[in-house]
């Protein structure tokens, strides 16, 4: 008889709402991996957990803050970024992460995404991209690869998807990265780096959704998609941004890395410089 391993605690107990587990995500889903990396990154960041706030919109990824034992807000579809904008402006001491999916952030919330990036709001955005709307059963979204089969593109998606790193870089995001759920260590390290930066940070995480996307597109199960990432992922932080589109063809590359890591004044820096300095000597804080 093999010896039974008995542990009473898990290293992430401190940051997980263990009374809410098991989570709702499907077998093979990448969200648990991303959440695990994020939880470890929070602990490793050295930032007091009480300062961390996680805000999400609607969808599978929107459920992440519900499992994290830090202040969390599960808001309306597409509105995580403006909600978080209000939070972090009213209390700039908060370390606010927006954790949401591609549909929530880029389709219904697309306008907020581009404006928050333009403003350089002090937000850390983690966009879990699974190429479809998972929660509603596998519909097309703005990141669905051209030609892909979804329940609302039964003949193949006829549109061109967003290239998110290219989009975010063009908007002036100070930190733009992409990994897949295969790249657990790199993802965790990138999240820690992002925690210690100020301004609008964007991490795209490609994640399997075997039920909504993998099976209809011959990607197979979650593990098969991980094998695909293993075969096709290339680390190339110097890659031309316009080459970063993800087509998910069996012989197409998935380019990963930290593509942008720069500095520019944040929204609050500019607010101090252009507004507060003229009225009250730079004192800030709305709360």
């Amino acid at each position: 008889m093999p010896k039974e391993a008995v542990v009473s605690t898990h290293p992430l107990d401190e940051v997980l709402r263990t009374d809410r587990l098991p989570h709702i995500w499907c077998p093979g889903c990448g969200l648990g991996t991303v959440m695990g990396a994020f939880a470890r990154a929070m602990l490793a960041s050295g930032i007091p957990l009480d300062q961390h706030v996680v805000v999400s919109g609607i969808g599978c990824t929107g459920r992440v803050p519900g499992y994290l034992k830090v202040d969390g807000f599960h808001t309306t579809h597409g509105r995580a970024i403006p909600f978080a904008t209000g939070l972090v402006i009213a209390n700039p001491e908060l370390k606010v992460t927006v954790f949401s999916g591609d549909g929530d952030l880029v389709a219904i919330g697309g306008n907020h995404l581009i404006h928050a990036a333009r403003r350089n709001i002090d937000l850390n955005v983690i966009c879990v991209n699974n190429f479809n709307y998972g929660m509603t059963g596998g519909q097309l979204g703005p990141t669905t690869p051209k030609g892909a089969i979804t329940t609302t593109s039964p003949y193949g998606f006829p549109e061109d998807p967003f290239n998110l790193p290219h989009l975010l870089a063009s908007l002036g995001a100070v930190f733009v990265a992409r990994w897949t759920t295969l790249h657990v260590r790199q993802l965790e390290e990138t999240m820690i780096r992002a925690f210690h930066k100020r301004g609008f940070r964007f991490i795209e995480v490609l994640a399997p959704c075997p039920v909504g996307f993998g099976r209809p597109n011959d990607m197979g199960e979650g593990l098969d998609e991980m094998w695909f990432y293993r075969r096709q992922a290339d680390y190339d932080p110097q890659a031309a941004l316009e080459m970063l589109e993800v087509s998910m063809h069996k012989d197409s590359k998935v380019i990963c890395g930290v593509f942008v890591d720069t500095e520019r004044p944040t929204y609050m820096d500019n607010y101090h410089k252009y507004v507060l300095s003229k009225v009250m000597g730079g004192k800030s804080g709305a709360a």
């Binding site: 009480d50 509105r79 904008t85 209000g86 972090v88 009213a90 209390n91 907020h112 607010y271």
Partner: protein, 394 residues
């Protein structure tokens, strides 16, 4: 540093008085999007909020504005936005979010001619039912209808206080006439202004705390993000821990509590003004700028020998149904005057067995007293007759 409260006598536009009322109430955060005829509120606060240590941000749309004030409120700010019909429509979903997350915030709607783009620069009162029913689901909202620039100031303060007290969005349902007219506004000394604060947790962070467990008043204490309570705040149906629960029982209990906490406070929230009702046979019910026309119509009617009184609704929601009930016992009929095709008149009918005559205009101008007078005359002639649907100008 400029003063937060501009104590003194002013000749002030309604929209500006609203902005000053917000500042006097302790508003520290405004997120909005320009829209006629509410823009002067944003313009005033863009100048004034930074002066007093607050924050103004112009968002990309009204969806974002509404979301941002809810977020700011959870960071501890007293937060407000201002808009008009089209923007109010865009705010509806997140007004529901504020209800569900029990978030104090103030939304000002300076109504204009609607539907759609309608008459951007001209007045209307056709958003008053949307105020109650515009977001999906069963919810109670608190809404005030100012009829003067002074009330734009006073009721905005009250809106903030009620929002904090009941952890609910509170609406100022003004109309373009009140927003854009200029009158005397008296701003009291700062120490004379009552400021209420949201209920706060009684236990320190780290101890057992159920963020959505309420006491007798059904209003749970509200922590701030970053205080250490590690709260989880849900738009989904949630239990007292804040956790999402797919249970019909939990859902029914939550939705009933959210509604009941407002209904139970009826006496604290309701405000109205009665005039010459003692001997009245007909009472004209109105609100906002239309109440000024109603007073004039009642005066003329009295001169002509008709015994007419007025009821001005200051609180629109919850609807002051009890006063309508009480008045019903001693009058022949009501006339409901409003710049829409009969929205609050329906609500009046729910509380009376007397005939309800209507004086309506779709908006674009201040209600002509003659139009109300025509309905008064009709009510006087035939209080048992058919209900007037759409009175026209004579």
């Amino acid at each position: 540093m400029s003063k937060r409260v501009l104590t003194g006598r002013h000749f002030m536009m309604g929209d500006v008085a609203c902005a000053e009322g917000a500042l006097a109430a302790g508003c520290t955060f405004f997120a909005g999007y320009p829209i006629t005829p509410s823009t002067e509120i944003a313009e005033r606060l863009a100048r004034r909020l930074p002066e007093v240590g607050g924050h103004y941000i112009q968002m990309e749309d009204e969806l974002a504005s509404m979301a941002a004030i809810i977020g700011a409120s959870w960071a501890g700010a007293k937060a407000m936005t201002a808009t008009s019909g089209p923007g109010f429509s865009l705010m509806m979903e997140n007004i529901g979010l504020a209800v569900m997350m029990e978030t104090p915030c103030v939304v000002v709607d300076i109504q204009r001619g609607s539907p759609s783009t309608g008459l951007p620069t001209l007045t209307g009162q056709s958003d008053v039912m949307q105020a109650k029913w515009g977001s999906h689901g069963d919810y109670e909202i608190i809404a005030y209808a100012p009829a003067s620039c002074q009330e734009m100031f006073d009721l905005t303060i009250r809106a903030f206080n009620m929002a904090e007290r009941f952890r609910n969005p509170v609406l100022i349902m003004a109309d373009e006439v009140v927003g854009h007219m200029t009158e005397r506004v008296v701003i009291p000394p700062e120490e004379a202004i009552e400021r209420w604060e949201r209920p706060r947790p009684m236990v320190p962070p780290g101890e057992h705390f159920l963020p959505f467990a309420a006491g007798e008043d059904l209003v749970p204490p509200m922590p701030r993000a970053g205080e250490g309570y590690r709260i989880y705040v849900e738009s989904l149906t949630h239990d007292e821990r804040g956790y999402p629960v797919m249970s019909p029982e939990v859902h029914d209990r939550l939705v009933r509590r959210l509604n009941e906490k407002i209904r139970r406070a009826y006496d604290q929230i309701i405000d109205y003004e009665l005039s010459e009702v003692e001997d009245a046979e007909i009472i004209v019910i109105s609100y906002g700028s239309t109440a000024r026309s109603a007073r004039q119509a009642a005066r003329i009617a009295r001169k002509e020998g008709m015994r007419v009184g007025t009821l001005r609704l200051i609180t629109l929601w919850p609807f002051p149904g009890r006063v309508v009930e009480e008045l019903s016992a001693r009058i022949r009929a009501f006339v409901v005057a409003e710049l829409n095709l009969g929205q609050m008149a329906r609500e009046v009918e729910r509380f009376t067995d007397r005939p309800v005559f209507r004086a309506n205009h779709a908006g674009g101008m201040m209600m002509p007293p003659e139009l109300i007078l025509a309905s008064i005359e009709e009510a006087y002639r035939d209080a048992k007759g058919s209900r007037r649907q759409y009175a026209s100008i004579r």
